[in-house]
């Protein structure tokens, strides 16, 4: 029993060591990049941290966190099953545009209106991901390839849908196409911080709740066990009676559903319409975050917070004479250091484990020998 406890603590330490090492390396490399470009290596970080004290920046970070967290969870569901859903971006955008269209066309009392919009997003997201799931189970098409292609198709579908002939609207004097504004009954209530800083999207709490559900389903249910087992070894899972094909399809559907939710903080709390300004690339950022957070709901939450911070606090850099791209470089460096440090930590852990097993076996053998000789 004592041993088991010790092992768990060590696993936790090793789990934290990976990201910490990655961040330290990324930070050091960023400083090097700054020095190499002849800039002050420390001041940009000071600027970013000091902008954290401003209320409007805090609100922006929290709101962005919700989007990133959901996108990363969508990716993480796939990763747990050894599926690489690159299509989160397309699923999220297609879900957002259709949810916006339905939200504009439907009028219903408050909570029902919001519920209809959210359900639309979930259904659309999972159908779009499901296409890749079906292709994989029925035809063996790699989900990496099919989801990339589905991203492109989603982009063109959206462009077609926001045309004026379909569902698009163009405000008088505007050059932008939108899907029209959702009635106020379909706005998700937020928490007002101040007139100046605006409000924290209410959907932030839904995002947190999705994180809890993710944790519960994956680590506390039979389904979660089957999913992780199939991810770890498909043949072993099949041997113990898990239908691997079904698991692939189901986890793609779940991944897509969560991806669909990722557009909701912005749609229901912020823009209330889908326009060409709707953020793109969220799904790709989600991949970075899921990797950094090691698919763990708490780890991913922190990783999402970090990336949201880098995104929002970096806009100040531009005004102080530093290129805002520093933050982008940092994000890239984080991705690279994540790979290296996680692998290093994993090897280290494996070596220690082998070492200890060896020691225990040796001790056992020694004891056996003594008993024999006695």
């Amino acid at each position: 029993m004592k041993n088991a406890f010790k092992f768990d603590r060590e696993r936790l330490l090793l789990g934290i060591a990976g990201p910490v090492l990655a961040l330290a390396v990324a930070f050091a490399l960023s400083v090097l990049v700054l020095v190499a470009s002849g800039l002050d290596p420390i001041e940009p970080f000071q600027i970013m941290f000091s902008s954290l004290q401003e209320q409007d920046v805090q609100v922006l970070i929290v709101n962005q966190w919700a989007t990133y967290y959901l996108a990363a969870l969508a990716v993480a569901v796939g990763f747990r099953m050894n599926l690489f859903n690159i299509g989160v971006d397309g699923q999220y955008r297609l879900a957002a545009v259709l949810a916006a269209i339905v939200g504009v066309k439907v009028s219903a009392p408050g909570p029902l209106h919001i519920l209809i919009i959210i359900l639309t997003a979930i259904v659309v997201g999972s159908i779009w991901a499901g296409v890749a799931g079906v292709l994989k189970t029925a035809r063996g098409v790699s989900e990496v390839v099919s989801t990339i292609m589905l991203n492109a198709i989603a982009g063109n579908l959206i462009a077609w849908m926001v045309l004026k002939d379909q569902f698009g609207e163009q405000a008088e004097g505007s050059n932008d196409l939108t899907t029209g504004l959702i009635d106020e009954s379909g706005w998700f209530p937020g928490i007002k911080v101040s007139d100046f800083a605006g409000e924290i999207y209410g959907f932030v709490f839904i995002a947190a709740a999705v994180g809890v559900v993710y944790w519960y389903v994956l680590s506390r249910t039979r389904f979660g066990f089957d999913l992780r087992a199939s991810g770890a070894s498909e043949s072993a899972a099949a041997a113990s009676g898990v239908d691997a094909k079904r698991m692939v399809l189901v986890s793609m559907l779940i991944s897509g559903a969560v991806a669909g939710l990722a557009g909701m903080p912005e749609l229901l709390g912020g823009t209330h319409t889908y326009s060409s300004n709707f953020p793109v690339g969220v799904g790709f950022t989600g991949i970075t975050i899921a990797l950094l957070g090691r698919n763990n709901p708490i780890g991913v939450a922190f990783a999402a917070l970090l990336i949201a911070f880098l995104d929002k606090a970096s806009s100040q850099l531009n005004l102080e004479g530093y290129p805002a791209e520093i933050a982008k470089i940092m994000q890239g460096l984080i991705v690279l250091s994540v790979v290296i440090s996680y692998e290093q930590v994993r090897r280290y852990g494996q070596r220690r484990q082998q070492h200890r097993v060896g020691e225990e076996l040796a001790a056992q053998a020694k004891k056996n020998r003594k008993e024999v000789s006695a």
Binding site: A159, L319, G321, Y322
Partner: protein, 356 residues
């Protein structure tokens, strides 16, 4: 050990995708932060701030035109000035934050380059009633402290169509649009009408580089190059581009094949970055963005800030064809046709459509 390559492949793919999705078109951004040494110590001379559209300073096009007006105003009024660039795929909230940051520092006026800033301007202008906000290419958000600087692009494009129809020998001309937005469709509409009114046997090939929300069609010259090559292969001998930073590729391909290119936004014949191709840049449809930006700065400097919709047309030289290529100056009959069309548009005999 089986997991190693899988993870590595996954991460590298993710990194590559993240980079292509976020880091495009930033090659010239270093120069964009040149003016930003101020710490915002409350100096009265902060002056104008410019929030760029995708591409930023150095796009040899739309943003550069705004930057030229900004530079002129900065010099003339002794302003410190400030420039800020967007990143690809950002949201309205990011744009609003950029404008808020600038307003908080005390810059006035704040000019948003491009219609994508409309929701952000609306939101931020309300919070800073004493600051003048300018927005280019949008008149949908209006307010007491908002100046909407809009252009009759279709009129300038009509003239480009007249020129193209006149000089084409193959009776096939091309249009390359950056992103298929309503704004770029205005360019297409005017161009097509100009071609058809001049010679209805001339065929117009149309190609858009990307569909919103994918704005890479304003950023990636390789896309422009490919599209232009496609039209050249179909026998086009004049190509008009309205593709921002991607237009460079169109000009490269067209000039490389010894065909005529028509530039956009700025006088592209005179742009240093395109000097190698300038002989084949017949003319450019200029939007006097720099003048509009300067005028707004001047009005604020004089204490009478512009407000409301200000339309720049052929009539007030807000849009025009550039005359800097000697080859173009020498084409007497083309010049006559352009002059004729200009007069007709100004006196209302020709109404140019804004949608194709």
């Amino acid at each position: 050990m089986r997991r190693v390559p899988h993870l590595a492949v996954a991460v590298l793919t993710a990194a590559a995708l993240a980079f292509t999705a976020t880091a495009c078109g930033d090659d010239d951004s270093g120069s964009g932060s040149g003016g930003g040494s101020g710490s915002g110590s409350g100096s009265d001379n902060l002056g104008m701030a410019l929030a760029y559209d995708i591409g930023g300073r150095g796009d040899q096009s739309f943003n550069d035109a705004a930057a030229a007006g900004f530079d002129k105003a900065k010099e003339e009024f002794g302003w410190q000035g400030q420039e800020a660039e967007p990143s690809a795929g950002e949201s309205d909230a990011d744009k609003a934050q950029r404008l808020t940051d600038l307003a908080k520092k005390g810059y006035d006026p704040i000019v948003a380059v491009g219609f994508v800033y409309a929701p952000a301007v609306k939101q931020v202008a309300a919070k800073f009633p004493d600051t003048t906000f300018g927005i280019i290419d949008d008149s949908s958000v209006q307010g007491k402290n908002i100046a909407n600087l809009v252009f009759a692009e279709e009129q300038g494009s009509y003239l480009a169509g007249v020129v193209a129809a006149k000089v084409s020998k193959t009776k096939t001309v091309g249009f390359v649009g950056g992103v298929e937005t309503a704004l770029i469709r205005k360019f297409e509409a005017g161009y097509k009408q100009g071609v058809a009114d001049t010679d209805d046997s001339v065929k117009v090939l149309t190609k858009y580089l990307s569909q919103p929300p994918d704005f890479s069609g304003f950023e990636k010259p390789d896309l422009g190059k490919e599209a232009a090559q496609g039209q050249l292969d179909q026998n086009a001998d004049v190509i008009y581009q309205a593709a921002g930073g991607a237009g460079r590729g169109v000009i490269e391909a067209t000039a490389g094949a010894d065909k005529w290119a028509i530039g956009v936004d700025s006088d592209q014949y005179q742009q240093k970055g395109l000097a190698a191709y300038k002989d084949q840049i017949l003319t450019s449809v200029m939007k006097n963005v720099s003048g509009a930006v300067f005028d707004l700065g001047k009005s604020v400097h004089d204490g009478k800030p512009e407000t409301g919709v200000i339309t720049y047309t052929l009539k007030n030289d807000g849009v025009s064809l550039s005359q800097s290529n000697p080859a173009f100056q020498d084409m007497a009959d083309v010049q006559t046709a352009v002059k004729d069309a200009t007069d007709k548009i100004i006196n209302g005999d020709i109404k140019v459509r804004t949608t194709p």
